[in-house]
């Protein structure tokens, strides 16, 4: 419990620090948000008026204090490009990205782990060669190209999947904002199928790199484990290969992959913007990218803070899983 509280305190400090850093960084960036927001042909008076409205004429420390005060009231400030509160936009768009990233990560793990194990147990066999080749292709593939190809193949040519968007019919009742979860909770199976079909292509594209990394990581840690004495002992006493690989060796081989997954999560939120752009996915990554291009101060800081919060939470979860997985760490406590 003390550990948990300390963790929460740490999180608060990290988020506060990130907010300050981002707040200052965006203001150091070249480019004028007012010009970007109001477009060409604006008089000096109009621009100054807008600047005063947004509070951008005040000294930095005052601006930051005001911002923190807003934050404390649950407001992220107004977005320049969409002219409404950033918090509102984030709460609308974050679930879309989370759904995409979680699905892609699940896909990468569920496919990558068995593939890595098979690669290791059939080292240098045909399957191993093919999966290593695919891994190499997977990491070096440009995501936007893969996305376009999938759209062409599955969407246009074979007409199996929708090309863009999150859902075609009406979205399910809003509970978590994750369409798959919401439609399941409300028993709306047609919405579930609809959302699922939309998810397939973007998930695959986003998962390509992570899948390759997970497979490679599992393969190398499994090769390590399979050469350990406990594995040959288990073979000597006649234990079945399935148990040896998937229970005994995997348990020890998985911790490196767990760390990798902790790293992959924030990276995937970052790289999701290409996928979101190509598939017209109404997610937060695309909004964040647009905000940066438009010098939308509040939006940039807001999006960064929310993503930062998620990264911290994911790290917390992976740390806890790590401890559950390895009794040696648990025993040291």
């Amino acid at each position: 419990m003390v550990r948990f509280l300390r963790r929460v305190l740490n999180t608060a400090i990290v988020v506060l620090f990130v907010s300050l850093l981002m707040f200052l960084l965006v203001r150091v960036l070249p480019g004028d948000p007012v010009a970007a927001a109001m477009g060409e042909g604006v008089t000096k008076e109009q621009a100054d008026k807008f600047r005063a409205e947004m509070g951008l004429d005040k000294p930095l420390y005052l601006q930051y204090a005001t911002y923190l005060d807003q934050l404390a009231h649950g407001e992220f400030g107004r977005s320049l490009i969409e002219s409404r509160d950033v918090g509102e936009i984030v709460s609308e768009r974050l679930p879309a990205t989370l759904e995409l990233v979680i699905c892609a990560l699940l896909f990468a793990v569920v496919v990558g782990v068995p593939l890595g194990i098979l690669s290791a147990t059939h080292r240098n066999g045909l399957l191993d060669q093919v999966s290593r080749l695919c891994s190499l292709t997977g990491v070096s593939f440009p995501g936007f190209w893969a996305a376009l190809m999938l759209q062409l193949l599955l969407g246009a040519a074979l007409a199996l999947l929708p090309i863009t968007g999150r859902i075609t019919g009406p979205p399910p009742e809003h509970i978590t904002g994750l369409y798959l979860v919401d439609s399941l909770l409300t028993g709306n199976m047609s919405a579930f199928g609809d959302a699922f079909r939309h998810l397939v292509a973007p998930t695959i594209v986003l998962a390509l790199g992570p899948l390759a990394q997970v497979t490679g990581m599992i393969r190398s840690s499994m090769l390590d484990e399979l050469s350990k004495p406990y594995v040959s002992f288990s073979h000597a006493v006649g234990m079945p290969g399935f148990l040896i690989n998937y229970k005994y060796a995997l348990r020890n081989a998985f911790s490196a992959t767990l760390t990798l997954i902790g790293f992959l999560f924030p990276l995937m939120i970052g790289s999701a913007f290409v996928v979101e752009k190509v598939f017209a996915w109404p997610g937060i990554a695309r909004f964040g990218a647009d905000a940066i291009l438009a010098n939308d101060y509040n939006a940039i800081v807001g999006v960064t803070l929310v993503v930062c919060l998620f990264v911290v939470v994911v790290n917390f979860v992976t740390d806890e899983l790590y401890v559950m997985l390895d009794p040696r760490i648990r025993l040291q406590r």
Binding site: K228, P229, A236, V237, G238, P240, Y248, D326, P327
Partner: protein, 336 residues
């Protein structure tokens, strides 16, 4: 005559490596009668562990190939068995490994590891049946009781406590005793112990050997005890085989064999034991040959101080006394 538990006859094992063919096991003949502990001694790199791995079914093939001879276990010719039948035999073999530390999985409790084994042996080698049983409360608790019973047999005072421990929480001697208990979890008829005390403290060694001797006698096991410690061999093994460079050069009842060795290599081994009277022990000059290009004929000839011309041909195995056999030209006509 009773059927031997293990019979190796003129076994030859080659290893196909990228450097060429390594002829590691050249001629191993060995028999273990029911209830008999047989020692296998020799210096490091002479093929003792390869022999053990072969019997345990964990010798990787390839690169290893059985190039000649026959391996029989429990009266069955192993080359005639399918992989399933081969695996099924493993339950009857109690394996006591060299180093108990790496052999226990660090991520699972002793209990989990023992229960897995017990339930698997009960499931008749069927994964589906194993998974059903492994999640069946009564079966698991019965397996746990049996595991505790086995730990009791190896004189572990608080079995239930030990069952809930992870390997890192146990001492080396304790871990080796857990290994002994695990070895009993099938229904063993044969024990294969690969230098089971080398990794232990000297004080713990003694107790572990006592325990092992006791256990083997009580369970009526036959056994192959691999060691390079002749003293331990004398203490445990009724008969002993001396192995050099992939050949069993001499065998016989342990006492007479060590007191009056016949083969020059055995003599060298015995003389290499440090004596209490002081003075440095004599050593055998040279080292185990390169298996890629082993010497023709007797493999010990290059290091042997009594070698003569005929040693260029493989020596015959003769029985100069009853129960004893030796592969050396000295006992077949001598120098001529």
């Amino acid at each position: 005559m009773v059927q031997p538990v293990v019979r190796l006859s003129s076994l030859r094992v080659d290893f196909k490596t990228t450097d060429g063919l390594e002829q590691v096991i050249k001629n191993v003949s060995l028999e273990i009668a029911p209830g008999e502990i047989v020692g296998l001694v020799g210096e490091t790199g002479c093929g003792k562990s390869v022999t053990a791995k072969l019997l345990l079914g964990i010798l990787a093939m390839p690169p290893a190939v059985i190039a000649g001879g026959k391996v029989e276990m429990f009266g069955k010719d192993l080359s005639q068995l399918g992989s399933g039948e081969r695996e099924a035999l493993k339950q009857f073999i109690a394996y006591v490994p060299q180093d108990p530390t790496g052999v226990l999985n660090p991520s699972f409790t002793i209990g989990t590891q023992m229960i897995d084994m017990i339930v698997w042996y009960e499931s008749g080698r069927r994964l589906s049946r194993y998974f059903v049983k492994r999640h069946h409360r009564a079966t698991v608790s019965r397996a746990r009781d049996y595991a505790a019973h086995l730990l009791g047999k190896v004189q572990i005072a608080d079995p239930n406590q030990v069952l809930s421990r992870y390997p890192v929480q146990l001492s080396g001697g304790m871990r080796q005793r857990v290994m002994l208990a695990m070895a009993l979890s099938g229904s063993p008829q044969l024990m294969i112990a690969d230098e089971p005390t080398t990794a232990l403290d000297v004080t713990v060694q003694k107790r572990t050997i006592e325990l092992l001797k006791d256990m083997v006698a009580r369970e009526g096991l036959a056994g192959l005890y691999i060691t390079h410690d002749l003293g331990v061999a004398r203490e445990i093994c009724a008969r002993t085989y001396v192995m050099y460079a992939g050949t069993t050069v001499e065998s016989g009842p342990t006492g007479p064999l060590l007191d009056s060795p016949l083969h020059p290599y055995t003599r060298g081994l015995v003389e290499a034991i440090p004596s209490l009277l002081g003075g440095l022990p004599r050593t055998i000059p040279g080292q185990v040959p390169d298996y890629l290009a082993p010497p023709p004929g007797c493999r010990f000839a290059p290091r042997c101080d009594t070698a003569f011309a005929r040693c260029r041909a493989s020596p015959p195995t003769v029985e100069p006394e009853s129960m004893r056999s030796v592969s050396c030209w000295l006992y077949e006509g001598g120098p001529s």
